[in-house]
Symmetry: C2
Subunit: 258 residues, 2 copies
């Protein structure tokens, strides 16, 4: 209690290194997924009953610091968050070519991806008070969580940030249990307007509860603070956008709390 008060005072007075303080209130635990499916990292708040869990699926780069930082942030908000490695065993790409190769290898084994997702979900569900699980994903991870929704996985909701919205297996009416939040960049060449519109039609026809945010002029990967540098380095049309990042994160927090 005293620690809490001290931290509150420090937060309120704007002392630097707030990150370190916030992290001190959470716990990070590496997890080995059963069945040689690879690894994940579980972030939990140290105090309080954890009622809601969130599965976090990384960008095509792999389970890097960015995806972990989002899970960490969710733990700071009181959620249990598991950042799952969809590439299995810590593969992280630095170059787009490598990222494409990793992503294509994962996509070639949809059953294994699904097994990894389910194993991460089961890991969250070990928490005794948990009664709801959400899944969120970025870029490649956005497509992963939307596909889980399409498959009818038992999730309270899924959120996709600058994720691909197209599919060869559209959602069937009445099958989707999760509500859906999509945040997309209006100038993202990987998620063009027609793809967004077709996705909205698909969700409508399937009877899905949908919230869509489209930010004009915003590029792919807009939530990732390192995207701008990555774009300059690689020539990819990716860039961070602070306003869209903040607005979509606020929408996510509301979405999880509803």
């Amino acid at each position: 209690m005293i620690l809490r008060l001290v931290l509150l005072v420090l937060f309120a007075t704007g002392v630097p290194s707030l990150n370190a303080f916030a992290k001190a209130l959470t716990e990070e635990k590496p997890v080995t997924l059963a069945g040689d499916l690879g690894s994940a990292v579980l972030y939990t708040p140290r105090n309080g009953q954890i009622k809601t869990g969130v599965i976090v699926v990384h960008e095509w780069w792999g389970l890097n610091d960015y995806a972990r930082s989002r899970a960490q942030q969710l733990a700071e908000e009181g959620y249990a968050a598991i950042a799952v490695d969809m590439y299995g065993h810590g593969k992280i790409a630095d170059h787009p070519k490598e990222a494409t190769a990793f992503m294509n290898a994962a996509l070639a084994e949809p059953d294994k991806m699904n097994a990894r997702f389910q194993a991460a979900k089961a890991e969250l569900e070990k928490l005794p008070q948990l009664d709801k699980v959400y899944a969120i994903g970025y870029c490649f991870g956005g497509a992963v969580v939307l596909n889980q929704a399409r498959m009818g996985t038992d999730l309270a909701g899924v959120a996709s940030f600058h994720g691909s919205l197209g599919t060869e297996n559209p959602a069937e009416a009445g099958k989707v249990k999760a509500k859906v939040l999509v945040a997309t960049g209006g100038a993202d060449p990987m998620v063009p307007p027609k793809q967004v519109g077709d996705f909205v039609t698909e969700m409508g026809q399937a009877g899905v509860n949908l919230e869509l945010l489209s930010f004009p002029g915003v590029l792919h990967s807009f939530t990732n603070p390192e995207a701008t540098a990555k774009g300059e380095e690689t020539g990819l049309p990716v860039a961070y956008d602070e306003a869209a990042d903040k607005a979509s994160w606020a929408a996510l927090l509301r979405f999880l709390a509803e």
Copy 2:
């Protein structure tokens, strides 16, 4: 100040007739639009600087108590809200046939509708501290405000509730100044999924800041508490939906405050 405290205490203790108290904090003023364009009703909070105005456009029934109640609610939230009569001079329909006739007559004179909208906007802009104007509309009114956005009218934002989303004059890239909020019923036969999807494509291609909420299983006119009775009386597929009404109203208040 004492009045405010008394009211706060009354609100907090849940004394009945809160509506009457809330109304006492606002002012209602009939307005005659210049150029024999008809009438409107202006609602303003009695206290505080009014920085933001909202034009409210009614359903196909005409400027009835429902549209006025929304403007009233906005005044209670601190906004100046003008409920404008798009049919001109107090025509209110009771039967769908009559509503259709009124609506078609209005749609046949787009220049006059635009003049009415602009006159209501000018009325709001007389308020000395005003720096932003939004427009919201229900059903027919939703289409009216979206068309204003498409035309490039100088508005901070427009919000459509169960409004028709189709158009013969799609928005052009870079022309739309307003951000757009759309709340739609997933089971509204007047706004089917394909129409919603095509609209989202249109907005994306035009570079519009869009927030879309789609509520599964929800019918047309879901924000209007009288819709269910009206549906039973007329056989129209309209019904009130409390959850969708509350969620879309909360989204509107955030949209106006951003």
